[in-house]
Amino acid sequence: MTSSGASRRWNNNAMALLQISEPGGAPDPHQRRIAVGIDLGTTHSLVAAVRNGIAECLPDDSGKVILPSVVRYLAGGRREIGRSALAEAANDAANTILSAKRFMGRGLSDIEGRERLPYDFVDAPGMVQFRTADGVKSPVEVSAEILAKLRQRAEDTFADDLFGAVITVPAYFDEAQRQATKDAARLANLNVLRLISEPTAAAIAYGLENGSEGLYAIYDLGGGTFDISLLRLTRGVFEVVATGGDSALGGDDFDAALAAWALREAGLSAETPQDKRAVLVAARATKEKLSAHDHAELACPLSNGELSARVTRDRFESIVQPLVDRTMAAIGKVMRDAKARKSEVNGVVLVGGSTRVPMIQAAVGRYFGQAPLTNLNPDEVVALGAAIQANALAGNAGADEMLLLDVIPLSLGLETMGGLVERIIPRNSTIPTARAQDFTTFTDGQTAMSIHVLQGERELVADCRSLGRFELRGIPPMVAGAARIRVSFEVDADGLLSVSAREQTSNVEASISVKPSYGLSDDDIARMLTDSFSSAEQDMVERSLRESRVDAERMVLATRSALDADGDLLSATERAAIEALMAGVDGLRESTDHHAIDAAVEALAKGTEAFAAERMNRGIRRALSGRRVEDV
């Protein structure tokens, strides 16, 4: 596969307004920020970028865009990443970590079928780890190796540092899994512009290429995760209507089910790490053959005998039927959440390597009563969509060619009396969002209240994932039920949650930015950074300075163009104050003190807040008056 085969070009006729062009006030091309999209997949990973208005996957030295998500740890700190590691997967099974994504943000007890896997698991608090020839490794470190490899590839391609990356995650990833992904990016020295959902990324790439409008279902079955998302595409706005899935269901499970069947048939078992990996590799090859043939052999040598089985496609389908049924049940749930009828769906897009299985294409087609769209490469489309969003978030694209309105996949709530969960923000709420709810004290003279933040759909605390706890102290003593404690949840555009609580009569307040209990602490990250990526420090300082200078330049340019467009909103005094702050930033142009530059930029930001609010008002009035004709 070549890189040109991986490119996506806008459809200029259908969506003229989506054309990517350098906006008039943008900084000069030398300061164009290099931003990439990364699809960090269970089985394989890709990096893509927008170059000359075209999103394309970046190839490695040998012209391959796909990097197998495999890391092999060797004694003495050496490691192999990608294809070479995959080649040794069966020989060196315990040291070669595949599908690390399945273990992100998960404890040992969360991992189903772990006895069939060839790893030496360590039951660490919070997240499971692997014992390897190079010591104990967490799934976060394994993922960081893969991300660093892709960052390197991108930096080599552009011969420059990256400004940042959009990394895709399954839509159904919870906060712990998302936090683990962010931690991996930090370890890999990547600036995360945004985590976006894989099906959403696919919809961006697909929608832009085809000029699509209307309601689209994205069925994304990868190596380890399953997502189903319903998106509405309207003139460049990508609105996630509802999303659902299973973050522990994918092609790996098909392989495991087929392998287990073959072993049972042959009366054999896979005991050693080598055997466990070998039978999974053989099952995967057989599954892939069955996509094109009616029958295939499943054969591999094991330490206690030769495994050999003939598998018909019918047999395979009956083995994996329960897994396919689970995906169909998830579709039903999403359609109910969206209150959408099948007939309203304009198109169904298949994403992920596992959708090559003919049975899945047939089942999805039958459900929606239409043939799924398969005119794009299911392996690449996610990375391409992420690259387009990365380019926009880096501020390179014009400001109004596309907009992504995403939702939270799982409900957020609080623990209440009796171990029950009170839902504050229901799943599928569009972000950014803020909600508040009032609670009261339970006993007379109660002066503190414990706030336990949870994520999930179940009624009982024990069945949901705990995201964090904090205490509101100093409530004045009152009779039970008299205090009014308002708990506010805020989810920003990145999907990050912060929670605050305030007693209304006394104004006592407490708050946290929620970091799941499963996330790594800053100390953990620092230790891992010094362990494996120690050369980074000097680079970081230089990089910070460069970033600060670019930010300063941009901030001044943005302010200048705001003054040009809406300067009439300001009095002469107000304008002079802003001009003075701009001069302050400009005066530090040659400075090497990035803290000083940052401070001047922040002062300018603060000093233009009221002006920004006025401009926002004008924008809203424009939205309401100018677009009336578009209303139905």
Binding site: S429, T433, I620
Partner: protein, 174 residues
Amino acid sequence: MTLKLDSDDFELFAIDRRFGQSRPVLDARWRSLQAEVHPDRFAAQGGAAKRVAMQWAMRVNEAYERLKDPLKRAAYLCELNGAPISAEENTAMPSGFLVQQLEWRESLEEAATHEQLRTLAEEVGSRREAALERLERLLDVDRDYPAAAQEVRVLMFIERFAHDVERRLEALEQ
């Protein structure tokens, strides 16, 4: 007119302050507003613009959530017109409705098949439609807000029950 974060939902969406609304208009207004205020629109600008944008985007989403849901919209209209719902303090329900509630609960407990649950869901659905029609008359024609608030409380019960029926259907399908 100057819009502020504390403008009411109807002002923000530039629609008449009434219960009867067109969903396609609401959807289109929401998208145009988000297209103006979403923080991603200010990716190339500084922190000030992004902070203002975040507040506005949250406010627009809040208004949209309330306007597009008939129950929340009705409750909001009652509140704006001095007849708050206060469901905790007003638990009295029309007696005929209470009898129906009991019958529904019984049917739900006894329902064993998909078919029976569907029938029940349909019955609840048509009762909900009737309540919405009454609400529209009370709010937009009679402007009898206390009576509308009472109808909202009835509708809250209906929706909670409809939700329970849905959950049973879901459980049955899995």
